[in-house]
């Protein structure tokens, strides 16, 4: 093939991120190793290394252990399990793929949540001999919680059930019921044998009754596009670029919608309004031209905006279309995944990082904790590692809040411990709560400048007091 034409074609590839869910025995690493190997992403020297390691740690006898191609850290290789999220890459003619390879055991729920947070598609592995297990329910719950809209159910080890169509249909039907229960939008079913490569890259001769595409073909052609609602422009201000007195640009990545020069915009939470004067798309900048402007820009683009008026805009603010304002509140209902050994304590101050803003806040109330295996709801007073719960959070400052369902980028946040600095939780905004405490923020009482200054002093210097802004 002519290389110049090849490069032209490959300039226009799409990108798809997917997550693989399964436990050690499901053959997850084997499946990934198979995809990388068959799409020629494994090189000879890596294969040779895996071959020498197979003799040491392998579990597949004389065959090369495909899992060793992907199990990264030495401790994992020794234990034969995947304990962290690993990212892998391969490409086909149409797409570049990023795989988030995550462990499946319950004690690694947080790792799976991490991998799921950036995925467009999830592959759920089910052992054909065992059918739907507790872990299948757990994985599916996390996938739906993180808002993944496409789930591929790979029914693996079909060679061990004689490639039985009945077994395949039975498992597919029971999974369908589970997907309905969780509200997973799109499901796809494939009978595979990761070990031998049936229906992974090429269609298997062992499943003549299967009319669908093999796994790779399915991923390659899957439509994952979402409708862009231009009016719902969301632009978290990331960085203020001010090289000289004549230029003041607001840099960031568009989280939703699109924007045009001349659009009326509102800065939140301050509520100040202005118009877009110019848009610089960072992608268009070359060494020769550092001022390449564009008339419009849309979601995912990293841009710089200048405004008609000199309004006060800083990092952490959100710029939106004036005609389509999100709700602004300091009291939110959220789904929270706890990720730290140290339990979550109600009332304690944590830092909440949402998009580019960091606001301190505390969890006021746990509505219920949900069991990832049975989906049962229970009342609890604190959350342990890997617990998932519906909570109410009270922030010390209001933020523009979209629900995670509407917008993953502006509806998601991480919880940072203010002493250890660790990421201790991940949250998804469900909605704004109307509560009495709201009044404390929008208080009718007027304060003097000295009182305001005192309030600011306390908030700046004693954040652990959880002092509210007046």
């Amino acid at each position: 093939m002519d290389i110049i034409n090849y490069l032209k074609e490959h300039e226009n590839k799409d990108m798809l991120r997917f997550l693989t869910c399964g436990s050690v025995d499901d053959g997850k690493s084997t499946l990934i190793g198979r995809m990388l190997y068959d799409s020629k992403m494994i090189f000879d020297d890596q294969l040779a290394a895996a071959e020498s390691e197979s003799k040491k740690y392998g579990t597949t006898g004389e065959k090369i252990d495909m899992a060793l191609l992907v199990d990264g850290l030495q401790s994992e290789r020794e234990q034969g399990i995947t304990i962290d999220v690993a990212y892998r890459f391969f490409a086909t003619e149409n797409r570049k793929f990023i795989i988030a390879d995550t462990p499946g055991h319950e004690q690694y729920t947080r790792n799976m949540v991490t991998g799921a947070s950036t995925a467009d598609v999830a592959i759920i592995l089910i052992d054909a001999r065992k059918g739907i297990l507790t872990q299948t329910r757990r994985h599916s719950f996390i996938v739906s919680l993180l808002g993944i809209e496409h789930v591929v159910v790979a029914i693996n080890k079909m060679d061990l059930v004689d490639f039985s169509e009945d077994v395949f249909n039975e498992i597919s039907a029971s999974y369908g019921a589970l997907a309905d229960e969780l509200g997973i939008k799109n499901t796809y079913y494939i009978p595979v044998s990761a070990l031998d490569g049936d229906n992974v890259v090429d269609k298997s001769e062992n499943t003549p009754w299967f009319a669908g595409k093999p796994l790779l073909g399915l991923l390659d052609g899957m439509d994952i596009s979402k409708e862009i609602k231009a009016e719902n422009f969301r632009f978290p201000v990331q960085y203020v670029n001010r090289p000289n007195l004549d230029f003041r640009g607001f840099c960031g990545t568009i989280a939703a919608g699109s924007v045009e020069v001349g659009d009326e915009i509102t800065v939140l939470p301050s509520g100040k309004t202005t118009k877009v004067k110019s848009i610089i798309n960072a992608g268009d900048i070359s060494e020769a031209n550092k001022n390449a402007t564009t008339a419009e820009a849309r979601v995912q683009m990293a841009i710089t905006i200048t405004t008609e008026d000199e309004v006060d805009i800083s990092r952490g603010d959100m710029i939106v279309h004036t005609k389509s304002l999100p709700r602004v509140s300091n009291s939110l209902k959220v789904m929270l995944v706890w990720m730290d050994e140290k339990p979550m304590t109600l009332g304690r101050a944590y830092d909440i990082k949402r998009a580019t803003s960091v606001v301190s806040g505390s969890f006021e109330h746990i509505n219920y904790k949900i069991d990832v295996n049975t989906y049962e709801r229970t009342q609890v007073e604190r959350l342990e590692l890997n617990d998932i719960a519906s909570c109410k959070i009270l922030l010390t400052r209001p933020i523009a809040a979209d629900s995670y369902k509407e917008n993953k980028e502006t509806g998601s946040f991480i919880v940072v411990d203010r002493i250890s600095n660790n990421t201790v939780g991940a949250g998804m905004i469900v909605g704004v709560t109307k509560r009495d405490e709201d009044k404390s923020v929008h208080s009718h009482k007027t304060y003097s400048d000295a009182e305001k200054a005192l309030n600011k002093y306390i908030r700046d210097n004693f954040p652990e007091w959880d002092c509210k802004e007046v």
């Binding site: 490069l7 990264g72 995912q300």
Partner: protein, 303 residues
């Protein structure tokens, strides 16, 4: 099939990298970008110029010079600094210079440890940087596949692979205590092919060592090493032969293997890469020292 409204994979990767670079500039008080003069560094530099245009780069570039780099790399580095007007900090381990560390004499392990790992730690301590931007990619090596984009380092620059902070969505935890630091990898999700395609599409300058040319090479441990200067022992130099070669990665010349090639243009390099059967790190002698070598080096503070 591809929705017109979705960005191409290179545009998505570019936007992601720019987002990461801006996050560093906004959240840290004293960041620095590692500059190793290679193709990945060239792409990072290009992305950084885009992220902060029309302003200059808000952080300096740091080159840890082991004093055994290819001569051309140093010329190229200084020319880029002049053309683009960025601040360049160069550091070489003075103790290593005193000991006259040589990869030929002391071997790759000692040389890399003293000149690269220790040299890097000295430079970082000296600069007091709180964020260090590096050009590592997750597709390069298995232990890198598990590293975060914002990767926490303790006061001793050590990485704890089993205790990494969860990293979700594109929300990066940048909180650290004084003395600690974060290594940031903006091109984590790029593959070698992405890098080359992007260099080709954007016309990014790279050192000519990447293109095939006649060079004097000798065989060392089955790897072709270019004769770049007279510090190569004479008995080795005697065996030198002229061959058409190029380099897939650039580093210290005695530790960087050349491959036979006729690729003199970017499309030819990409074609050769697509047809090749060995991964890019194969030419690097340091990774082969021991199994899991990279993981151990990273724990010790190497990039």
């Amino acid at each position: 099939m591809i929705d017109e409204k979705r960005l191409t994979h290179l545009k998505q990767l570019e936007a992601e990298s720019i987002h990461i670079l801006r996050e560093v500039a906004a959240e840290f008080s004293n960041p620095v970008m590692m500059y190793s003069v290679g193709k990945d560094s060239s792409v990072m530099l290009h992305l950084a110029m885009k992220a902060f245009a029309p302003a200059k780069l808000p952080f300096p570039l740091l080159h840890v010079d082991t004093l055994w780099k290819f001569k051309e790399m140093i010329e190229f580095r200084d020319q880029r600094a002049k053309d683009l007007g960025f601040d360049l900090v160069v550091h070489s381990n003075p103790e290593g210079i005193e000991m006259n560390i040589s990869p030929f004499e002391h071997g790759s392990k000692v040389h890399t440890d003293v000149m690269k790992t220790q040299g890097l730690k000295q430079a970082l301590n000296k600069g007091g940087y709180d964020a260090i931007i590096g050009g590592a990619r997750r597709d390069e090596e298995k232990s890198r596949a598990k590293e975060r984009i914002f990767s926490f380092r303790d006061k001793h620059h050590r990485w704890d692979p089993k205790n990494q902070r969860p990293e979700l969505w594109n929300v990066y935890n940048t909180a650290i205590q004084k003395g600690e630091s974060v290594r940031v990898f903006p091109i984590s999700n790029w593959t070698e092919l992405d890098i080359w395609q992007y260099i080709y599409l954007e016309g990014i300058p790279i050192p000519s060592l990447y293109f095939a040319r006649e060079h004097e090479v000798v065989e060392m441990d089955g790897v072709k090493i270019m004769v770049d200067d007279e510090r190569m022992p004479e008995e080795l130099r005697k065996t030198a032969k002229k061959e058409m070669v190029r380099f897939r990665t650039l580093g210290c010349y005695p530790l960087t293997g050349a491959i036979n090639s006729t690729a003199t243009t970017l499309p030819e390099i990409i074609k050769e890469m697509l047809l090749s059967t060995s991964s890019e790190r194969e030419g690097r002698l340091i990774d082969k020292d021991q199994e899991g070598a990279m993981e151990l080096k990273k724990i010790e503070g190497y990039f």
